[in-house]
């Protein structure tokens, strides 16, 4: 039960102690507490199987929580779902479209199912077709569209009834760079007027970093951290990151030698890559290379970059997000 002191109406979306277990041994989502404010873009970041989609499905009322509650605009989803439906827009992870229907017919169908009046619906559908560059394909059956166009339509369907809470479940998965750029532009546009709350699940660090006001990192159903991306990156240390890719996984002796000779404090590995973080890291680069070349490993590649959310995840879990 939510705490009496909570003012749930001040949040677009809130969860209290939300848990979901598909079996008795483990929880897909474990005691999740979220408080997302109106106009906020909230990124839910985590590897595959972290519990992101399960969370979204519970937020939408499609999945019953094992325990805990979900509130949309202060109203609990289990009791007020029918009333809240018109305020929620969803872009599912998979493109869910009817292959035989055209682009226009899709928008018309979903709009009608949300009770959007005919004239408004026609205008909104036209606007969305233009915004998502679907004009040329408006009368084509969806089965003839490319994957990227289908994803755009998938997102347009989430917006056709003008919802004020939009949930985007892995919206850029499988998109080509051009479509992804268009999608990010659209999401940024939606967030610009601060009228809508956007919840975004992704396993793309870049996407979460660029689009989100706040990011929650989820792993094994638990929320590890939740803050603004800049704060999260800052929390794991100052300076840049030097990535050194080797031909094989380095031994503990090699790593210890680097640590001692180059006085490196923040060092970690991910598979056959060594990540070294610190201020003025380039000054220590020759020493590190010397240590590595004196051992039997061969350097394949090196890269210098600033901190990312992936580094945050790596620090928190000890493994790369891609290993998830």
């Amino acid at each position: 039960m939510h705490r009496p002191s909570d003012d749930l109406t001040s949040f677009s979306v809130a969860t209290r102690n939300l848990s979901k277990g598909y079996d008795k041994r483990s929880l897909a989502v474990d005691s999740l507490d979220l408080s997302i404010k109106p106009g906020e873009v909230f990124g839910l970041l985590g590897p595959n199987g972290a519990g992101k989609t399960t969370t979204i499905r519970m937020l939408l009322g499609l999945l019953k929580p094992t325990s805990g509650q979900v509130f949309i605009h202060g109203e609990e989803i289990t009791t007020g779902r029918q009333k809240l439906k018109g305020r929620l827009g969803v872009c599912p992870q998979e493109t869910v479209l009817w292959p035989e229907l055209t682009v226009s017919e899709h928008l018309n169908l979903i709009g009608r199912m949300y009770d959007v009046p005919g004239r408004t619906l026609r205008a909104d559908a036209e606007r969305l077709i233009t915004e998502f560059s679907l004009g040329e394909k408006r009368n084509q059956p969806v089965k003839r569209l490319s994957g990227g166009l289908k994803r755009r339509l998938n997102l347009a369907l989430a917006l056709v009834h003008g919802p004020d809470v939009i949930m985007l479940d892995e919206p850029s998965a499988g998109l080509d760079p051009q479509s992804r750029a268009l999608l990010w532009e659209r999401i940024t546009g939606l967030a610009r007027d601060r009228q809508r709350t956007i919840i975004l699940t992704t396993h793309s660090m870049e996407e979460a970093d660029r689009l989100s006001d706040r990011v929650g990192i989820l792993d094994h159903g638990k929320m590890l951290v939740l803050d603004a991306p800049e704060n999260l990156k800052r929390s794991i240390g100052e300076g840049d990151v030097l990535e050194i890719e080797l031909d094989r996984v380095p031994s503990q002796e090699v790593l210890e030698a680097i640590r001692q000779r180059s006085q490196v404090e923040h060092m970690s590995t991910s598979a056959n890559t060594i990540l070294v973080r610190g201020l003025n890291i380039m000054e220590r680069f020759p020493g590190i290379v010397g240590t590595l070349t004196s051992s039997t490993v061969v350097i394949q590649n090196t890269r210098l970059r600033p901190n990312t959310l992936e580094d945050v995840f790596l620090k928190l879990t000890g493994r790369s997000l891609r290993d998830g």
């Binding site: 939408l60 009322g61 499609l62 969803v90 869910v96 035989e100 229907l101 949300y114 009770d115 059956p141």
Partner: protein
């Protein structure tokens, strides 16, 4: 009204999916073509005759009804009737011929408008029973009819019982001074046409009718009925007075006609029961059809014999049979329709029901695809209610069923289907039948794990149901409730499609009105409502509510 855009969407998807459209609409019509080639009149093909071997062992009966002595051989006449049984849809198939000289001439039982090329049976008279049975075993014949030696004797005994019973009833009414009642005694000829005649021979009917004559007079008349005629239970004195009255009438008749009753040689009202045997392979459709036709022919034949007997008896005992009594014994309106139909005519309504049951598979797979492809989940996110979803999916499928019926019916007519009834009534029944099928599909889509499983289960259920509904051949039912709102309810009667089939056959093939098929229609409606409610509850709980 959110179901309307959903209905349009489902309809559009159907119309753009030619594969589904073909199976849903054209395949049943194609099925009709196949059946018409096999069983109907199409092109150079004629009605397929049923091959019947007859072993006529009837010894006949020596009688004298006042026209001189003659040997009556009802077995031979019955064989002739079977040989000349035609498909003529407009004429009656047994025509009494009052101009014939003999009591039971061949003409009096012959069919009118005979057309040998359209005969139902190809009858071969064989002498030996073993040979006939061998031919049936080898598939050369659909059935063998064995007429026992005492057939004429037993049939005439039944007829005399009926006639004497009628004489007695007339005398009773006259004696008691009451006008004849519209509802006659149980022992009247109309009651003597026991359906058990083919298997039980004369035994069944004569037992029912026979109470009317001889020693059984008192019991025959039925104590309740006669007590009603007298206003009290008749005494021995009453019965003696009645017998005297009948004797006086007979004496008057003798004087008027100049024929002495002593010179007549009337058939006895007592005869041992006989059984006609129809042998055949129950798995052979031809045997089932032969059995049905012969059962009706024999029933009608025995009615005719009784009627002729009564007409002859009236010559000697001029009973004043009032109009109500005449109607009671009349056989003019007796309905025996099998003789005017082809096998194909029976099967067209069956194919309609088969097509309706095919929809179960298509609808359940469509609903499962909605589920597995995420369409249902997307729709669940909208304001769509459960009822919107059901109606949205039901309407297009019902319309498709009607379209299917129109095409199927048109194809059947082109291929020689003789329909007698209203197409609009057929449409109504098809709408009900399609609702039953959609309801079953809802149940399957609630329980199946994926579309393959739904399709497999639907086929496993729909095909046996189509056969059990009697869509293709008569099914022997097991009665579970003897009187369910006025009719016996069998095991197959628990399926709404059984009632769809029977109502469709009644309406389309036999031209029956609503009142004649209303029991089946009401059963169909009731069972469909039950199925629909079960489907809605299951689907709502398992597919439309939040997942656990």
């Amino acid at each position: 009204m959110r179901f309307l855009p959903l209905s349009f969407t489902v309809a559009k998807r159907m119309s753009r999916d030619l594969f589904t459209l073909f199976f849903a609409i054209l395949f049943p019509a194609f099925f009709v073509f196949i059946f018409s080639v096999a069983f109907g009149k199409t092109g150079p093909l004629r009605n397929q005759r049923l091959d019947l071997a007859v072993v006529n062992g009837d010894e006949g009966l020596r009688v004298n009804f006042g026209n001189g002595p003659e040997t009556l051989r009802l077995g031979a006449i019955l064989v002739d009737v079977l040989e000349s049984l035609s498909y003529s849809p407009s004429s009656g198939w047994i025509r009494p011929d009052s101009s014939s000289s003999g009591f039971m001439s061949l003409d009096s039982l012959r069919l009118s408008a005979q057309k040998p090329e359209s005969a139902v049976f190809s009858v071969v008279d064989t002498l030996k029973e073993s040979m006939a049975l061998e031919k049936v075993s080898s598939g050369d014949f659909d059935a063998a009819l064995i007429i026992p030696p005492g057939f004429t004797r037993a049939a005439m005994a039944m007829a005399m019982e009926d006639a004497m019973g009628e004489i007695f009833v007339g005398a009773m009414d006259k004696f008691s001074g009451e006008s004849p009642r519209p509802d006659g005694p149980a022992g009247s000829p109309s009651g003597s046409t026991g359906a058990g005649a083919p298997s039980g021979g004369g035994a069944g009917p004569s037992a029912g009718a026979g109470a009317g004559g001889g020693a059984g007079f008192g019991a025959a008349a039925g104590s309740d009925t006669k007590a009603g005629a007298f206003g009290r239970k008749p005494t021995t004195s009453d019965i003696q007075k009645m017998i005297d009255d009948v004797s006086q009438r007979l004496e008057k008749s003798e004087k008027r006609s100049g024929v002495s009753l002593d010179s007549l040689s009337l058939p006895s009202r007592k005869a041992p029961p006989v059984a006609l045997t129809l042998a055949g392979d129950p798995s052979n459709l031809g045997f089932s059809l032969t059995s049905g036709v012969i059962k009706n022919v024999l029933d009608e034949f025995l009615k005719r014999v009784s009627r002729r007997s009564l007409e002859e008896a009236k010559e000697f005992v001029p009973l004043d049979l009032g109009p109500a009594r005449k109607e009671l014994v009349s056989l003019e309106n007796s309905s025996v329709a099998v003789e005017t139909r082809t096998v194909f005519d029976y099967q067209v309504p069956g194919i309609i029901v088969f097509a309706l049951l095919m929809i179960v598979s298509l609808v359940s797979v469509t609903l499962m695809l909605d589920l597995t492809q995420g369409h249902l989940e997307r729709l669940k996110l909208t304001r769509m209610s459960a009822l919107d979803y059901f109606l949205g999916n039901t309407l297009p499928w019902v319309l498709l069923s009607v379209l299917q019926l129109v095409l199927l019916f048109g194809a059947a007519k082109l291929l020689g289907y003789h329909n007698m009834g209203s197409m609009f009534a057929g449409v109504g029944l098809v709408i009900l039948g399609s609702l039953s099928s959609i309801s079953l599909a809802l149940i399957l889509a609630s329980l199946a794990k994926n579309e393959k499983q739904a399709s497999a289960i639907a086929t496993m259920i729909a095909v046996p149901l189509s056969f059990l509904s009697g869509a293709f051949f008569p099914v022997r039912d097991v009665v579970i409730v003897k009187d369910f709102f006025g009719q016996p309810l069998g095991l197959t009667g628990l399926s709404p499609w059984t009632h769809t089939t029977k109502a469709l056959v009644g309406v389309l093939t036999f031209g029956k009105g609503f009142s004649e098929v209303q029991w089946h229609v009401m059963m169909q409606i009731g069972l469909t409502i039950l199925l629909f409610l079960a489907g809605i509850v299951l689907f709502s709980r398992r597919r439309l509510s939040a997942q656990r």
